[in-house]
């Protein structure tokens, strides 16, 4: 796959059928709409942005913070220009309107899903799902990176996130909005955040998963003398 840096207005192709995200069609040509990396596939060309805000899309899983409790709705900051609305009926169990703040109060963090976004960008959220994965986050830590760099933290079909989880030995969830929830012992969370920062700084470069492996190897040696696998958890805690 060919990748190069493009700037808005750059000519990408003469075949308008290949126009993908981050591109636009003008005068029968496909041009870049964004400053980013051109991603050229066989049947499409898209531009991966290097910066930008999170724009909610249906079925995105995001990490939000309650900013306000109104009559029948929680208003949720989802790290986007648009606020999320969590209706009382989207809470996993039936609750009374008067009791809303007993379940979710201002400042609480939730792992939620975008249920629907309409044309005027009203964002409806939900906490109901089959797998019971959506919930209030009562432990762990949350860090944030640019939402455009979030895909690199997950990696191709989840390779990077799997590496991070198994190598560091912590639980992680990467929200589409660039917020990342990490749970584990303090040391492991620190290391995970360092790793995420490393990915953010190098998101535009290829071969990240391999370098991440080397990065973690070096870090673990420097920090604790040995690698985690040989170590008894209690010792370094």
């Amino acid at each position: 796959m060919e990748k190069r840096i493009v700037i808005p207005g750059d000519l990408l192709s003469d075949d308008i059928r290949v126009s993908g995200s981050g591109t636009y069609v003008a005068d029968g040509t496909v041009r870049a709409a964004l400053y980013g990396l051109m991603n050229k596939g066989e049947r499409y060309i898209s531009v991966i942005p290097l910066a930008g805000r999170y724009i909610p899309q249906t079925s995105d899983r995001v990490i939000g913070v309650i900013t306000e409790v109104t009559y029948s709705n929680w208003i949720v900051d989802i790290n986007s220009p648009y606020d999320g609305l969590l209706h009382i009926s989207q809470y996993p169990r039936r609750i009374e309107i008067e009791q809303m703040s007993r379940y979710l109060k201002v400042g609480d963090c939730i792992l939620t899903m975008v249920k629907d976004v309409d044309a005027s960008m009203k964002v409806e959220l939900t906490l109901r799902d089959k797998d019971r994965e959506l919930r209030r986050l009562s432990d762990g830590r949350i860090t944030a990176i640019s939402p455009t760099k979030m895909p690199r933290v997950i990696g191709r079909s989840g390779s990077m996130i799997r590496l991070l989880k198994s190598e560091i030995g912590c639980n992680m969830f990467v929200g589409q909005n660039g917020r990342i929830w990490i749970n584990g012992s303090e040391d492991r969370i620190d290391l995970a955040i360092e790793a995420v920062r490393y990915i953010e700084a190098n998101a535009h470069t290829p071969g990240l998963t391999d370098r991440m492996q080397a990065f973690l190897k070096a870090k673990k040696k420097t920090r604790f003398g040995k690698t985690y696998e040989n170590e008894d958890e209690e010792e370094w805690r």
Binding site: G22, A26, G36, L50, R53, P81, K221, T222, R223
Partner: protein
């Protein structure tokens, strides 16, 4: 303030030694402000300008929100120390006008319909002024918008042309601006679609078209510089990264072992 020189062009050279179709030197830095979504610092001759872009973000007051598109807000501001004689801080008749025309220079190129109900804020601060600050501001803002990841049809490049000693010259400097016969700032996209065109002074129709042609060549040169700056920003990071790659893993375990 300097006196009016007797001749602006001597032996085909201008006061600062430039040819009539030559730009002043330009220096560009992208991503200078950490807290802004996109930013750019630009030096152009004696001009020093800083542009910052925030957004798309929530627009207040709410009644100014547009249900189908984003609102572009542009603020051009001169620092009180940017000119010889201290200017009164805050918006003036001149800066309000420049903010408006600069905003209109960007509105046609930004895909505002992607972000309904939001604002895209552009701030341009003139730290040092030396003729042609509005064009410098537009060039910097264009790069800051790209750096912020705002979708656009293309970059906007701007430059001024003018008339001194009866000749059409590119990119006026201070004296030429103050005592010249005409000043014509132009902004356009790489596809040569004009998004800003102002004129002060007098030009004949024939001179006007000649000036416009010269402005186009100037904008093309600036576009190339803008493009280089954007591409270099990431290629530089990439190459330094590769250099660090080699020695780092080997050297680190020793140095930080006692941490």
């Amino acid at each position: 303030m300097s006196e009016k020189p007797e001749h602006f062009i001597v032996d085909g050279k201008r006061l600062d030694g430039r040819r009539v179709d030559e730009l002043r030197p330009i220096k560009i830095e992208i991503g200078t402000l950490g807290r802004a979504d996109g930013s750019c610092y630009l030096e152009w001759g004696n001009n020093k300008v800083l542009a910052a872009v925030y957004g798309p973000r929530e627009l207040h007051p709410r009644h100014r929100q547009k249900m189908t598109r984003s609102v572009v807000q542009f603020r051009y501001n001169m620092a009180s120390f940017s000119v010889d004689e201290r200017t009164r801080p805050g918006p003036s008749r001149r800066s309000i006008e420049i903010s408006k025309v600069s905003r209109e220079a960007f509105e046609p190129v930004i895909f505002t319909k992607f972000f309904p109900r939001t604002a895209i804020d552009v701030f341009v601060e003139i730290l040092q002024a030396g003729a042609g600050t509005r064009t410098a501001g537009i060039n910097a803002a264009s790069l800051a918008l790209a750096d912020a990841g705002i979708p656009m049809r293309g970059l906007v490049s701007a430059c001024a042309v003018g008339k001194v000693d009866g000749e059409i010259v590119l990119d006026l400097m201070k004296e030429e601006d103050n005592y010249g016969e005409a000043d014509l700032p132009v902004a356009m996209t790489a596809g040569r679609q004009i998004t800003l065109l102002q004129m002060d002074g007098h030009l004949t129709t024939e001179e006007f078209y000649r000036a416009l042609e010269l402005a186009k060549t100037g904008c093309d040169q600036i576009y190339e510089l803008q493009r280089q700056a954007l591409i270099e920003k990431y290629s530089k990071e990439y190459t330094t990264e590769i250099e660090e790659e080699g020695p780092a893993p080997a050297g680190e375990p020793e140095g930080d072992a006692d941490e």
